[in-house]
Each structure stands twice: as structure tokens, then as C-alpha cells.
């Protein structure tokens, strides 16, 4: 009978390595989140968010603009990195995020570039670059600005 123990051990080790990698990535995100909260006085946060977008659909054949206008667009879900408000809502997307089932490599996509991160150092370098972007600064400022607007509660 073939001995499968070595294969099973390799599978378990791979799963443990993947778990370690994912924890490491979560810690990096938690660290950024803490620093975003700190500089925004808890008015902005950072995190991974699931977004939805319309997928390009081929027009009907033969093409019928009238029919096409009544067909709802096909939607797909994708993960992104975002700046959110202090309650982890109203996400402003900074980049798309993809992750291998082993944790690494992971992929950050924005401004026409896909940054490939093969380890912790790559991920930290790529995230630093993303955080230096003007749009990241603008997103944080927008969340702070919204948090500073007084709510329209009726005066009792």
C-alpha cells in the first residue's frame, strides 16, 4: 500500500505556512489602520472591503439598444483596499486587492500597475507606495471633513 504520510505532512505544513502568512498580512493591515486612526483622530480607518462593479456585457444579437437598456448589468464582486470612516463605513477605494490561497504572493492594483508582493517586505514597500499617493491623502481628508460636518438633528 502506498504511503501517503509524507504527502499529508506536506499539506499540513503548507496550510500552517498559509495561516502564518495570512496572519502576518492581517497584522500589517491592522498596523496601518491604527496609524490612519491615529493621524485622523479616529475619523478615518483603513481596511479590506468587498466592492461590486458592473462587468462589460456583449450587446444582444442582432443588436437591439431597446432590449439592451432593460437588461440589468452583470455585477461582480472584488476585494479592495480602502479608507473608511470612523465606523468602518463609506469606503473610498484606493486599490484592488488579490491574494493567493497561500497568503503570498498578493497583488495590489491601481493606476494601471499591478504590484506583486512575494513576501512581507514587498507588501510593506507596496503599501507604503500606495499610502504616499495623492488619492490616499484626499480620501483621509474627505473622511475627516465628513466627520466634522455637524449632523442635521432637529433642535428639540
Amino acid at each position: 500500500m502506498k504511503n501517503f504520510k509524507d504527502s499529508l505532512k506536506a499539506g499540513i505544513e503548507a496550510a500552517q505556512e498559509a495561516e502564518r502568512n495570512k496572519k502576518e498580512i492581517t497584522l500589517i493591515f491592522d498596523n496601518i489602520n491604527a496609524q490612519v486612526k491615529d493621524i485622523s483622530e479616529n475619523k478615518a480607518t483603513f481596511g479590506k472591503v468587498t466592492f461590486k462593479r458592473a462587468v462589460d456585457r456583449e450587446p444582444s444579437r442582432p443588436a437591439n439598444i431597446f432590449i439592451d437598456s432593460f437588461i440589468p448589468p452583470k455585477m461582480e464582486e472584488f476585494e479592495g483596499l480602502a479608507i473608511l470612516n470612523g465606523n468602518k463605513q463609506n469606503a473610498i477605494m484606493l486599490a484592488e486587492w488579490e491574494q493567493n490561497s497561500a497568503g503570498y504572493p498578493c497583488y495590489i492594483r491601481y493606476n494601471g500597475q499591478k504590484f506583486i508582493c512575494q513576501d512581507k517586505m514587498d507588501l510593506e514597500n507596496s503599501l507604503s507606495s500606495l499610502l504616499e499617493e495623492v488619492k490616499t491623502g484626499e480620501a483621509i481628508l474627505e473622511q475627516i471633513k465628513k466627520a466634522n460636518i455637524p449632523s442635521d438633528k432637529p433642535i428639540s
Binding site: 488579490e98 493567493n100 494601471g112 504590484f115 512575494q118 514597500n125 507596496s126
Partner: protein, 298 residues
């Protein structure tokens, strides 16, 4: 209905690194004539070019105005670095979905492994992804520099993500790698091989048909062949003037009997007397031959 897609790759030498927009009118005209020949003599559907500037892409676009071809201008200026690629494709055959420059941030700056172009094959509503690469010259980075391995690994990671995360089976990599099919960057980092048996058995491996095109077909003493075997001519190289730097590499799905297959008979280095004369002429800037490969549908 089209049951084949023919790809071509060519380093045009129009705007090499640091010598942007300095090509002669004759050189530019010759590029247009060669593109016309590739389309009309070889029925090419997709042509990826490198060493082109934004102005070169604009010039080339003029030839395709009102035709069935579209151009994706992939020239990117990223700080001091430039990515010098464009892709001409038949727009009734393919629809471009999105593009990305495959990038890694290192302590000493960014490296770019390829441009990823995600297409939909219109007739069959099937995805196909191209990776278009122009790796650094050996004049700047030597053959054994670790950067070449990093570029191969980075490209392999991008290809793996397309296969595993996005379930894309049809992947074609076209480029001037400034490395030959046997160099470690392409064999040990990108995992491209000449072994069709292994590619069919191990789907993560890639097939590189350009191993077969590293030498000319003439057996000594017969010497009628114009072409010296290879795609790049370097007159002053002491041991081999011709190198096979330009290659088209395929994912295993094209060998495993899926809907699209590689028709290897149509893999070739394109040349004629005129282009060989220009490449071997010291006054001409041209130093690469176009390469062609074709996939067909069962």
C-alpha cells in the same frame, strides 16, 4: 468566424533606451512596410512592438486609421523609467478588457516584468491574457545578474495569478527578454521549457517553441540560408552574432488539447533579403527580426 489567432512580436529599434524619437524617416517607413507584410503575407492578427515612444505609436496609428485594427498604446513613463510597448490587434476578433503593468517595488526602485493585456475573444466569449515584455538590455544588466531571475519570477507570479485566481487558461507571453530560451530567467524562474511531454503533465509549466529556432536549417556544407539562426544580430559578438532574444511562450492549455491549440508549424522568425540586409548593415539601427506564432481552434 475565425478559428485562428496569429501573434507577432517585433523590437522595432525605433526609440531605444535613451535614444527616443531619433529614428530616420527611412527606418520609420520600413517599420510600416514590415507591419503591412506581417498582416498581408502572414495573416497576423495581433502585433506587439517594443522600442516605440508615444510619438512612434501615434505615427504607426496613422497606418491603421479606418482599418479593422486598433492600437493599445502601452508606453508608460514612470519617473525616469519608460516602458516602450504597443499592441496592434484586430478589433473584430478581440476586445480589450483591461491592462496592467506588472510591477514590484524594491528598496532601489521599481522593476517592471511585463504589460498584462486582458482580452476577450469576441466570437467565443473566452478570455485570453497576453504578457508583453521587454527586459533590460545586456549592455546595462549582465547575463548572470540576479535582476533577470527576479524578472522571470515576477512574470511567473503574474501568470500564476491569472491561472489560479482568475481561471484564465489561455496565456501568451511575447517579448524581447534579452535572454535566450536556455537562460535561467526563462527556464528556472519563468518555468518555460522545450519539453512538451512535461508541459502536458505539469500544467504550471509553460511551453517555449523558440528552442527550435535558435539555429538555421542549413547543414554544412550547404550554406544558402540568409538567416543565421536567432532573432537579434550583434555584429561584434565574439562567439555568436545571432541570439534568440525574441520569443513567444504559451501556457500549457495550448498543448493539452483544450479548445485552442498551438499550431507549431506556424511558429517562425520572419525575414527576407531586405530586412537581413538592414540588420547586418552597420549604418542601420535595426537589429531584431519579427517572430510569429499561431493558435488555432479545434
Amino acid at each position: 468566424m475565425s478559428n485562428k489567432i496569429t501573434f507577432s512580436w517585433w523590437n522595432t529599434s525605433l526609440s531605444p533606451h535613451t535614444k527616443e524619437n531619433l529614428s530616420s524617416d527611412e527606418h520609420k517607413a520600413f517599420v510600416l512596410v514590415t507591419l503591412w507584410r506581417l498582416i498581408n503575407e502572414k495573416s497576423v492578427d495581433v502585433i506587439c512592438l517594443c522600442e516605440v515612444s508615444t510619438a512612434d505609436v501615434e505615427y504607426i496609428s496613422g497606418m491603421f486609421n479606418g482599418s479593422e485594427f486598433s492600437i493599445y498604446d502601452g508606453t508608460v513613463y514612470d519617473g525616469r523609467k519608460r516602458y516602450d510597448i504597443c499592441t496592434i490587434y484586430k478589433s473584430n476578433l478581440l476586445q480589450i478588457i483591461n491592462t496592467d503593468l506588472i510591477t514590484k517595488i524594491q528598496p532601489d526602485g521599481k522593476i517592471h516584468a511585463a504589460q498584462e493585456l486582458n482580452f476577450q475573444i469576441k466570437e467565443f466569449q473566452e478570455p485570453i491574457t497576453l504578457y508583453v515584455a521587454h527586459w533590460v538590455s545586456r549592455l546595462h544588466v549582465s547575463e548572470d545578474d540576479t535582476l533577470r531571475i527576479q524578472l522571470g519570477t515576477l512574470l511567473m507570479d503574474a501568470v500564476s495569478a491569472s491561472i489560479e485566481q482568475r481561471n484564465i487558461e489561455n496565456i501568451v507571453i511575447l517579448g524581447d527578454f534579452n535572454d535566450e530560451p536556455f537562460n535561467k530567467s526563462l527556464t528556472e524562474a519563468l518555468f518555460s521549457t522545450k519539453d512538451t511531454f512535461l508541459v502536458k503533465k505539469k500544467p504550471r509549466l509553460l511551453y517555449n517553441p523558440f528552442w527550435r529556432l535558435m539555429v538555421n536549417k542549413d547543414l554544412h556544407p550547404c550554406t544558402t540560408e540568409l538567416w543565421g539562426g536567432g532573432t537579434y544580430y550583434h555584429k561584434n559578438n565574439k562567439t555568436s552574432r545571432w541570439k534568440t532574444f525574441d520569443q513567444i511562450i504559451f501556457s500549457s492549455s495550448f498543448l493539452r488539447g483544450n479548445t485552442w491549440y498551438l499550431n507549431e508549424e506556424k511558429t517562425e522568425v520572419y525575414y527576407n533579403k531586405e530586412i537581413i540586409r538592414l540588420i547586418t548593415n552597420t549604418n542601420s539601427k535595426l537589429d531584431h527580426l519579427p517572430v510569429i506564432s499561431s493558435i488555432e481552434r479545434y
